[in-house]
Amino acid sequence: MDEKQKNSILLDETEDAFDALMRGELSDLSELLKDTPIGQSVGVNVYRQTSMSALINAIKETFETCRHILGDDYFNQCATSFCQLYPLFQNDLNSYGSDFPAYMVELVETREELAALKFLCDLSSLEWALNETFFAKKKRPFDLEKFGKLTDEQRGKLILKLGPDVRLLHSHYNVKDIYTFHRQEENIINERSFDVISSDHFYVIHRGSAETNFELLIEQVDTYNYSVLSAIKNESCFIDICENFAREIDGDMQPPPFGDYISKGIISDFIL
């Protein structure tokens, strides 16, 4: 590189070079760099490794149970290829990994050695939901007084809102049990075995009712409650939900148990 070329190197060229380096499209930045005591390639490698480690560590922390099942080496391989394919778009490592469950689906479908671990797709979805629930905004207490004062006309237009921490998950496996089993150290030490059950399971992931409660709850619900909560999530009208999900209990037609959802903090607000 001659003197004129050297002087023309600008910030955007430096950025482009690092961009390509992180994507694995470039392994050598010698055209841009001068010799140093540690050597150009060693220096470039430090950046590649430290940046990749930061991303991989974020994935490891969020998908701890998947990592536990797959083992460190295999999980690291998967996480590395994921991090190369999915760069960080927001400057927030806590929100990095939303595509990992979809990536798991792809892996499980294409890798023979994972054929018996299909539940990993749903387990990774559960772990991502837990991450989102943990960092979600605080919920305000449901305003029962305001709700009680609504006119019939207003109730006709009412839309209930799930808490900002609430996530719904339909799994084809008993992923809550799998998650809980693998989070208990003594099960691993004593090499206890565990049955994976392949059938529909419905979960509500949330932080409970207290405003400052950051305990994560995974609540298994039946098809009926899952359908009602899905309708609320999809912003169906309150009146429609009452009509569509009314069911007979002790000879009377009853609406869904909105009071229970409110007391658990699953429903936290409404809009008109």
């Binding site: 950025e15 140093t36 540690i38 605080k138």
Partner: protein, 288 residues
Amino acid sequence: MKRSSLASVKSAGLGFRMPHFADIMKRRDEVPWIELLLDNWLCEDGIVADRLERLINTFPVTFHGVGLSIASSSPVDEEYLQQVKTLLDKSDALVYSEHLSFSRTKSQFIPDLLPFPFTTKTLEHIANKIDFVQTSLNRQMLIENVSAYIDFPNNDFSEEDFITDLVKRTGCGLLLDVNNMYVNQVNLGRDAEKALKHLPLAAVQEVHLGGHETSEGFLIDAHNNKVCPEVWEIYQQAINLTGPVASLIEWDNDIPSFEVLLGEQQVAQGILNAAKANKPLVDEIKYG
């Protein structure tokens, strides 16, 4: 414009990390101030905001950012800057500091502090961005010298001359990271002692101290160790030249017990106390 208000602190603080939350609340009297990694506290609500409220009600805080990417070719992200302003204002932050590096490219964020060529053009570009940030925030910011593992052939300035010009042009303050100076001395052959004498030391309002990792003849600024004797020596030289300055222990990886962290803080405090008393600094201070 609001000047940084750390100048009066002149004591040794701690970089706060979440695993120490319970310890630091219990032993609050031993910690004069804390530094928070700004980008971890930008949520306005939820667990992060809850913890933040407890911390800012207990300690004087400084905020240290990694997401501004002041040396990117692109303009400052104004949405991000607004979030920073909201956080600094609500926390009554003593200081806002950032790194003299970039982490954002046109297509991704790279979770690292990347170096760039010290040219006349980059100086002008970064000075304009610092002006914009300080005006938008209505406060002075501090710029930190970073550790590096590569160097560019087309530098018009040494790092210290580049920083001196930035400070002169923008009125920003300087956060002097003495571990980074030592890492660059070993990795890039720069001279830490010489650099110290050329930097605009009157602008230094905070000093960072951290540990590094040694790897086959070079150093990685991993913040995962105690401060090494060579770095304590550079720190002493710096404090001899600047007088007592707010100093911070950074430890981000392989986080030790709170006790170990406090031990490091006390070594820094000892050096600051000696400087305050205007005593000659002893040669054999026992380093952690």
